[in-house]
Symmetry: C2
Amino acid sequence: MGNYFGKGTINLDNAPSVLSYASAVGPKEGEGPLADYFDYIGEKADFGEESWEKAEVILQKNAFRAALEKGQLAETDISFIFAGDLLNQCTGSAYGIRDFDIPFVGLFGACSTMAESLALASIFVESGLADNAAAMTSSHFCSAERQFRFPVNYGGQRTPTSQWTATAAGCVVVAPRKDPPYIKSATFGKVTDMGVKDVNNLGGAMAGAAYETISAHLTNTKQNIYDFDMILTGDLGKVGSGLLIDLFKKDDVDIANIHADCGMMLYKFEEQDVHSGASGCGCSASVLCGLILKRITEGKLKNVLFTATGALMSPTMIQQSESIPAVAHAVHISGE
Amino acid sequence: MGNYFGKGTINLDNAPSVLSYASAVGPKEGEGPLADYFDYIGEKADFGEESWEKAEVILQKNAFRAALEKGQLAETDISFIFAGDLLNQCTGSAYGIRDFDIPFVGLFGACSTMAESLALASIFVESGLADNAAAMTSSHFCSAERQFRFPVNYGGQRTPTSQWTATAAGCVVVAPRKDPPYIKSATFGKVTDMGVKDVNNLGGAMAGAAYETISAHLTNTKQNIYDFDMILTGDLGKVGSGLLIDLFKKDDVDIANIHADCGMMLYKFEEQDVHSGASGCGCSASVLCGLILKRITEGKLKNVLFTATGALMSPTMIQQSESIPAVAHAVHISGE
């Protein structure tokens, strides 16, 4: 049974298993370096739908259905879905899940949602409060751009610090302890504000939250960075990853060789013109549910501290001269 | 320890206690019939802030601080805050919690958030995953109106089915079992869509979700409506409450005498011109954290099935001719 380590960290003694996982992405992600790892790659970014929001709904449905299929599960095997996304009112999740007869726990953690949902699903399963639980999130470049910045066809210039919102979704099904990967512990982060007001530098806004949550997790679990093969952040991109490494240097900790960032893994940097890298809930979700969980399952990675980071950026608050708060949640996923 | 009853229902064997609770409201709510029960009533709806969104942030801060004070708690006594609100990117919560050094689990359940957050906080405490946990939500008439419908100073006519978004927040602190009120069980609802497309009839959009969740809770816990003094819905208002009663009549169940609705309790109907009643996350939050928990503590109410209802209404999806999905979550709060 789980227990509280203090300061946001929960230890899952009887670590539950990742029973199944799946990813669904758009054409640009399907041309990136991780193409071989995705379960569904759409030919067109609208997936045949008449709006970008409805296209994002398709991503969640496809990721969920693929996760069920890969786990040989029926809809009725899932006790709860923990999900959220970037769209206002989390419509990607609400409309995505509407067709399924499954209790829905709606989350908002922006791009931290994959870790938040995975942590909650794991806690429910480990505590005996669910048979199997699904964790899911998505993002879509076009629905996010027009909501947070400019209409897509406006064609605005993108700054060097900007990141490309991934058109992608990921779904993990957590089940009572059986085979690896296991979910061993999780840390929920606090809201951290670096004072960044630039909506084109979300990596910078999130680096502090990543630092706080990773530090808290290591301190609370009495671990250090060498207990992990990989400390994997969500979507800090080039700029945010650099800042994170600098923040740890102040503690005389060099995480550069152990740190990886989903935002730097999804696209071919130069060729695909993504500036500081990828972002969006679907970025860390698809990298986790594409490459990372596969590598853990194959035994190629042993211990990953998956730390998804969310910029809680509101265009309304930005217009009111506010800075961008961020949050990060960490989940220790282990192959042993 | 808790266990899973199936179909969304969790039983909390070692039912945790409501250690403290508090509410904060605006001037209109302070002129309503429940005025004596609120901990903070602002003189002006802007609470001295320069925007409606920042005013909503003040509501959450005041509710949280009042809950700490009433429970003689320090910030460090709270292991987690579970919170969300109606604003895009849940800014009422993110900016409200930013000043506190407490792990944050962000939620989106629209007006179901008070029940969702209370259920999760109770589950964490009962499972030993938190010492004390806070559940919180808010809404503000002016920030909600301009986000979901029209700018406030547009002065648009309101339809008879429309509801008045409460300017209010509520916060509950859940602690390990000691004195009543106790949180005995909870049911997370599924996304339910009645096909309603009218953004001025959210009570109608939510009635089906309330029916599904209350029915599931009763079936899964093998209880009937007479096991409760009160089945309290969140903010169905007059129209939605009538529909809920009709839906139960089809099952030959007459809930009219046991049912109450927070949306029908917050204002003086005729005098305050609120049409179908109150709505907003803060409606059920302030009625629960004002009147209801006090009456349970005093022994005047024994068993309440608090069922907050959320219309997952997105203006973007409405513009795309979509209907409004809804969700409801139920929490059994008991004085014995």
